[in-house]
Symmetry: C2
Subunit: 313 residues, 2 copies
């Protein structure tokens, strides 16, 4: 590892002392990779991420296997993860059937996947936004009755590839509905990566005014236009303390002409540690894990920090 | 081009209304590319950048041809650029000999290239920091007497690959000296890309306290650890209004394990326009120029925005 003593720590005023990283690599990352990873390798990946200090690792998805073949082994994988003290292992569930499968395996934290736009709801869930909320209602209700923590993903919060700019009020409406259903946390997704820092602030302002404060929010930025980390800084300055990221930038291909990948966890950790913000993460262990996974996938990591920290050829 | 109507414009408080982009692609970018570009292509590149609305385009370098073979054609290139109304075409000059060659060709804007650290001064200039300042003194003095605008680059302002973290006071000392020599503008370089936003603020604070205000500063961030745009946001919030960037991220290889490239101009423009900050740049024309240059170089652009805006295969 290069650059000893770096990044230098320079706390900046108005930022949180600690940030929770919601690691999405094993689920959102691997789901979007072409290579299907063997189940024991996935289990080792989750274990290594936990050993690197990540306290929330989204492990897999209990959707129908034909929808997401890369995660078709959810029922084999989850029992391999075992009990990791102090680590949450949420799983994505699309409906009551998925929740039942997850509950039987002892899952204590789930996520549902909603959309702020009609076109994406139709294309991703084959439902209107209201129909998808109706589908989530019994899932969230039963999960909450069982004491299970529920995260609600809200995709297309800024731009939509079919609808263009997404009005703030449209996002606020769906966010309010997901909170009313009982979601403990909402993750605001910039699914096509078009957001800029002022847009992030404007949305967080409106959500706060409508009773959805930063304390129940997470941000989920994509680096399609290189904006993810600048947007994260704006969200932290606003008061958000939970940030989604994907180890090694998993899910975005470094060679694609349109790289739609998640923010890389290592790039995020570099900034947070530079700002003196605690994450509990050991950056060296994390980058080593991402290098190991990049080898399994047979291609370099899209994370700039992972590439910079990797042993030179 | 995709994403019509995007980015949405959301001005944020405390940011400048207008930012000057100091485009370094033809000099700093091409200097670090493996492929040597024919002189007429370089001239067309500069013309296309100016047509895209960039008002400062660093054109080439009058160093000894054996030092930087990619820019050995400076004397052939400069006359081909002609007079571009409203566009500054600074060139790098290392010493009095370089200045003489530039002045003979009618250059009206130059840059000298200094270092904040002894190790880099020694390796890059084969001099101590003080010896390099002594070398610049007659260059700046003669240029100023001729009414030529002078920019001073200050590299390794945050981290140094040999020395590690660079103390703020060391940067302040060299910056003060360059200002005292008569440099109109100083460009603070994060040459190895390790800076984070709090570090940027701390350095700008110290410089301001020592009589080097934001109004005479530019920032020059590298994206080695993915921090360039977040650092730029911090600098803009502080009051800096000149930002260095390289069209298409030129100078950084998207395939390198350690991508040491400049901030891509397109990624910068996307953020600035999203923030409602004027740049005068037409993003579509700029991205088309970078795609054209990427074809000349025979490899994809490292700019995420260029890739996202490029026609899909």
């Amino acid at each position: 590892m290069t650059a000893p003593g770096l990044p230098m720590r320079f706390p900046a005023p108005g930022l949180p002392a600690r940030v929770t990283i919601h690691e999405v690599g094993p689920r959102d990352g691997l789901q979007n990779e072409k290579t299907t990873v063997p189940t024991p390798v996935k289990a080792e990946f989750v274990h290594r991420l936990a050993a690197a200090g990540l306290t929330t690792v989204e492990a897999t998805s209990f959707v129908h296997p034909s929808w997401v073949p890369q995660l078709a082994d959810a029922e084999e994988l989850y029992p391999l993860l075992g009990d990791l003290p102090g680590v949450r292992l949420p799983v994505l569930v699309p409906n009551e059937k998925g929740l039942e499968r997850a509950v039987e395996l002892g899952v204590r934290s789930i996520a549902v996947f909603g959309s702020a736009t009609e076109t994406f709801a139709r294309r991703n869930l084959n439902r209107t936004v209201d129909e998808s909320l109706a589908m989530f209602e019994p899932v969230v209700s039963r999960a909450k009755a069982d004491g299970i923590r529920v995260r609600g993903y809200l995709s297309m919060c800024f731009g939509d590839p079919w609808e263009g700019p997404v009005p703030l009020e449209q996002v606020v409406r769906v966010a309010r509905r997901l909170r009313d259903l009982g979601c403990d946390e909402l993750s605001l997704g910039d699914t096509i990566g078009t957001a800029t820092p002022g847009h992030v602030r404007a949305l967080l302002d409106r959500l706060g005014e409508e009773g959805v404060p930063d304390s129940v929010l997470a941000v989920h930025f994509h680096d399609t236009y290189g904006q993810a980390l600048a947007n994260t800084l704006a969200a932290l300055e606003h008061g958000v303390t939970t940030v989604d990221a994907s180890a090694g930038g998993l899910g975005g291909c470094p060679y694609a002409r349109s790289a739609t990948g998640n923010l890389a966890t290592e790039d995020l950790v570099w900034m947070l540690h530079g700002l003196g913000i605690e994450t509990g993460v050991d950056l060296g262990l994390l980058a080593a894990t991402s290098l190991w996974m990049a080898e399994k996938l047979g291609r370099p990591s899209p994370s700039r920090t992972v590439r910079a920290l990797s042993p030179k050829e």
